[in-house]
Subunit: 460 residues, 2 copies
C-alpha cells in the first residue's frame, strides 16, 4: 500500500493518494496543473490506475480538481448526497468502495458543510479494524472545522451537528486509528490547527482542546469563533457544486518587458500586484500596485479582485510569478495577464516612476502613538484582536479595507499594523492607492510590539 | 563523445567535461562541492572514468578544484610549465594526451598569464583536423583576456605575447574550429564578452573587434583597457599555484535564530552581509550590515573582507544563503558563520533594531544635483566612467570605498550611484556603516539617469 499526502503550502490543504496493487484512489484533488500532474506521477510510479476520486465535501477555499482528473483518467467521482452536485456520484452513510486489497467506508459527518463525508480506510483482511480515517474539515489536528459557512444564522445547529459527527461517528472508530485531515496550520477553514498533518484518534482525544468540551460547551465555543469570509468563497462554492471551468483554455503567465507592462497596466480591468516581501515593496515599487507577498497569493486576491480582473505581477525573481500563478489557479483565478520579466529592477533601470511605502518600526511608532501624532490601523482578523491590541488602534480587517476605507485624515501620517508586517504592507498599499499621503507599514507588526513589551489592551 | 559546459553563474566561468567511451577529461574544475559533484555525476552518467584534469592557466578569480578532483578520482593534473606549481604535471607546446578515440594537443599561448595553455581537441581518426579549442583566458567570444595581471609595468610585453598567441597559434587552426572559452559575459577577466559560451574561429575572425586590430593597434588597445584588481586575486594566485586548502574541513552554513545571530554579530571578527536585493535592503536591514546582492557574492566579499572574517548572511529566503555559500567557496572564503534563519523578517518580528537606506530615484536626484543640495558618488569601474558620468559626480570605485572614504560632509545628504543600483547599495551600506548620516542609493543608477535623458559629461 502506498499512501501519500500531496500538500499545498499557502492553502495548507492535503490531497491524499492511496494505491494498492494496480488500483488507486485520490481524495480531494485540486484543479491546478502541477497538482494534477503529481497525482498522475504517483500513479505511474506506483504502477496503479486511479479508479476513484473521493471528495470529502464541497470546499470553499480552493477549486476541486475532480473533473480534470476524471477527464485524464476515467476515474469515477464520489461525494456527499445532500447537495445537488452537477457532476459525480453520491455516497451515503455506510457505502463502501473497494480497490485491490483495501476498502473505504463512507460516514456522513455534517457540521462544516451539510454533505461532509469522512472516509475510513480498511484492509479487507481485517474488515472490522479501521486503519485510518480521512476527516476532511470535520476534525483537524488540535482543532475542528469552522461551522459558520453554511448559514451564519444556523451556527448553533451546525455546531451541534459537528459535535455529533465527531463524537458519534469518528471518535468511536478507536484510539489506534490514524487521522488524515484535509487541512493543516494556516488554513482559513479553522483556527489553531497543529502543524502536523497526521494524528491518531487516541492522541486527539487526549490533546485536542475542542474534544475536551461537552456538547453545550462545544457549541458555545464554536459559535463564538470569529472568522472572516472572503468574497471568493462564493465563487468556489459555485465551482465546486456545478463544476469549474476546465484548464485547457488557461493561459500560462507571460513575461513582459517594461514598456509592455506599462501599457498593460494602463488598460482598464488590469491591476498590478507586487508579490515581493514587504521590505522590498517598501524600498521601491510601481505606483498604484498592491502589495501581496507570495504566500498571500493563496488567499488575498480573493478579497481584492473580482474574477474578471487581469493581474500583472511584479516578482522578486521570475520563478515567483509562476509560483503565484499556481496559487491563483487553485482559487480559480485564471486571468494572470503576465509578469514583469526580471522583477522590479528593469522598471527602475528604465527610469520609470517609483513609489515608496514608509516603514515605521515599533520603536519609532511608540513615541508617535504617545503623542497622538499618527493614526494606527490594525488590519488583523477579529480573532487576533481578541488577544490584545495597541491602545488607540483603529480596527479594520485588511480584507475589508479597500471597500471600507478608514475615516482618518488623508494628509496626516497613518500606520498599518498586522501580526508581522505582510498584511500590513497590503493594507498600506491599499491606502496609498486610495490617496492617503503618508502611509507607513509597521515591520514586525504586533509581534514586534509585544516583543518590546509595549502596552497592550484588550479589544472591546 | 560527450562534451558539456559546467557553467558557474556570477563567476561566468566554464568548466568543460569531455568523455569518449570509458574515459573522460575535465578542463578547469572549480573547488566547490556541488561543482565537483557535477563532474562526478557526468562521469557516472556517461559511464566514464575521469583520467585527466587540464588547467588552462593559474586563475585569479576562483579556486581550482583540481586537487579535490584528483583525490576523488585518481586523475592526473596537467598545466603550464613556466610557473613553479606545487602540484600536477607540466605540459609543453606540442604535448598531446589521448583518451579513448580522442586526443588533446597543447599549445602554449602566453599573454594573460605567462603559462597559459590552449587545448585543441582532435578525433584520432582525423589527426590533422582540429575539431574544437579550449582557449582559456586568451580568446573570448567578442573579446580577449586582460593582460594587466602578471605585471602592471609589463602590459606592452604581455599584450604583444597575447597577440602572437592568438594570431600565431589559435587562429591558424582554421575557421571551422569551435571555440570554448573559459569565461562568458560578466567575468572580471575581460570586458565586452558576448553572452554566448561558444563560437568558431571563423566567426570570431569576422566579428570579434579585438581581432580586427593590427599588432600595434591591439597592444595599444589592450594597454589602455582599465580593470580593477580585487585584493583576493592575490590569495587565488597563491592557492592556485601552491594548492588550496582541501574542502574536508569546510563547514556547511548554519541557520541561526535571532538571538544567536545577534550574539554572533557582536563577536570580534564577524561581519553581517545582507544578500537581498537593494530594494529589500533599503526597506529595512540590520544596523551595520553590508549590502551585497546574491549575484555579487561571487566577487565583492573579496574586496571587503579578509579571509579570516566570519560572515553572517541575511538572505531573502534561506536557500539563498546556501547559494551564496557556493559562490563564497569558489573564491576561497571558507568562513561562513551562518545565516539568519527565515531571512530578515524574524529579526523585525522580534522587535530588534532596524536601519534604513534612503532610495533616491533619478527624478528626485536631478533637482538636488541642480541645486548642489546633495553629493553624488559614482562607484562604477573606471572603464564604465569612460562612457560618461553625471556632471558633478565624485568618482570612486565601490571596491575602494571602504578603505578610501570620500571626503564629503558626514552630516549632509550623499547619494551613491552605479550602473543599476546593486553596487550602489553596497556603497551606500559602506558609507552608512562608516557613519555618514544621510545616505541614499540611486535605484536604476546611471542606466535610469540615461533613460531619462538627463545630462551626461565625459569623465576626465
Amino acid at each position: 500500500m502506498i499512501l501519500r499526502n500531496l500538500k499545498a503550502e499557502g492553502l495548507a490543504h492535503n490531497t491524499y493518494f492511496i494505491a494498492s496493487g494496480e488500483e488507486a484512489v485520490v481524495i480531494d484533488p485540486r484543479r491546478e496543473p502541477a497538482d494534477l500532474r503529481e497525482c498522475l506521477d504517483l500513479a505511474r510510479e506506483s504502477g496503479a490506475i486511479i479508479r476513484y476520486i473521493l471528495e470529502t465535501h464541497r470546499n470553499e477555499d480552493f477549486v476541486h480538481g475532480s473533473l480534470e482528473l476524471e477527464k485524464m483518467t476515467g476515474a469515477t467521482i464520489y461525494h456527499g448526497a445532500s447537495l445537488p452536485f452537477k457532476y459525480g456520484q453520491p455516497l451515503r452513510d455506510g457505502d463502501r468502495i473497494t480497490f485491490d486489497k483495501l476498502s473505504i467506508l463512507t460516514m456522513e459527518t455534517p457540521g462544516h458543510t451539510p454533505e461532509s463525508l469522512t472516509y475510513v480506510l480498511y484492509d479487507q483482511k481485517y474488515p472490522d479494524e479501521p486503519l485510518a480515517t480521512f476527516t476532511g474539515d470535520a476534525l483537524f489536528v488540535n482543532s475542528t472545522g469552522r461551522i459558520d459557512l453554511p448559514d451564519e444564522n444556523e451556527k448553533h445547529v451546525n455546531a451541534g451537528k459537528l459535535y455529533d459527527s465527531i463524537h458519534g461517528k469518528i471518535l468511536p472508530l478507536g484510539d489506534h486509528v490514524v487521522i488524515y485531515p484535509a487541512h493543516g496550520a494556516g488554513s482559513v477553514c479553522g483556527s489553531g490547527m497543529g502543524d502536523r498533518d497526521w494524528s491518531t484518534i487516541g492522541y486527539e482525544k487526549r490533546t485536542n482542546p475542542h474534544l475536551q468540551l461537552g456538547r453545550d460547551e462545544f457549541i458555545e465555543y464554536k459559535v463564538g469563533e470569529k472568522f472572516v469570509r472572503p468574497p471568493y468563497f462564493l465563487r468556489m462554492e459555485d465551482y465546486n457544486l456545478n463544476g469549474p471551468p476546465l484548464l485547457e483554455s488557461r493561459r500560462a503567465p507571460v513575461p513582459l518587458g517594461v514598456q509592455t507592462f506599462d501599457r498593460a497596466m494602463r488598460q482598464k480591468g488590469t491591476e498590478v500586484v507586487d508579490i515581493r516581501l514587504p521590505q522590498a515593496f517598501g524600498g521601491g515599487h510601481i505606483p498604484g500596485s498592491y502589495s501581496i507577498w507570495l504566500g498571500g497569493m493563496a488567499l488575498f486576491p480573493g478579497w481584492l479582485f473580482d474574477y474578471e480582473t487581469e493581474l500583472l505581477l511584479v516578482p522578486y525573481e521570475d520563478e515567483d510569478a509562476w509560483k503565484a500563478d499556481r496559487l491563483l489557479c487553485r482559487i480559480g483565478f485564471d486571468q494572470v495577464y503576465g509578469y514583469l520579466a526580471g522583477g522590479f529592477e528593469p522598471w527602475q533601470n528604465a527610469g520609470m516612476p517609483i513609489e515608496f511605502t514608509g516603514e515605521l518600526p515599533v520603536d519609532a511608532l511608540k513615541p508617535l502613538m504617545d503623542t497622538s501624532d499618527i493614526r494606527l490601523i490594525d488590519v488583523r482578523e477579529p480573532r487576533e484582536w481578541q488577544n490584545g491590541i495597541v491602545p488607540g488602534a483603529l480596527l479594520r480587517y485588511v480584507g475589508h479595507l479597500k471597500t471600507d476605507l478608514p475615516d482618518v485624515p488623508r494628509d496626516r501620517p497613518v500606520a498599518v499594523m498586522c501580526s508581522v508586517g505582510h498584511r500590513g504592507s497590503l493594507g498600506a498599499s491599499i491606502l496609498q492607492k486610495a490617496g492617503y499621503g503618508q502611509v507607513y507599514n509597521v515591520p514586525g507588526g504586533f509581534t514586534a510590539w509585544r516583543a518590546r513589551d509595549y502596552p497592550v489592551k484588550p479589544a472591546k
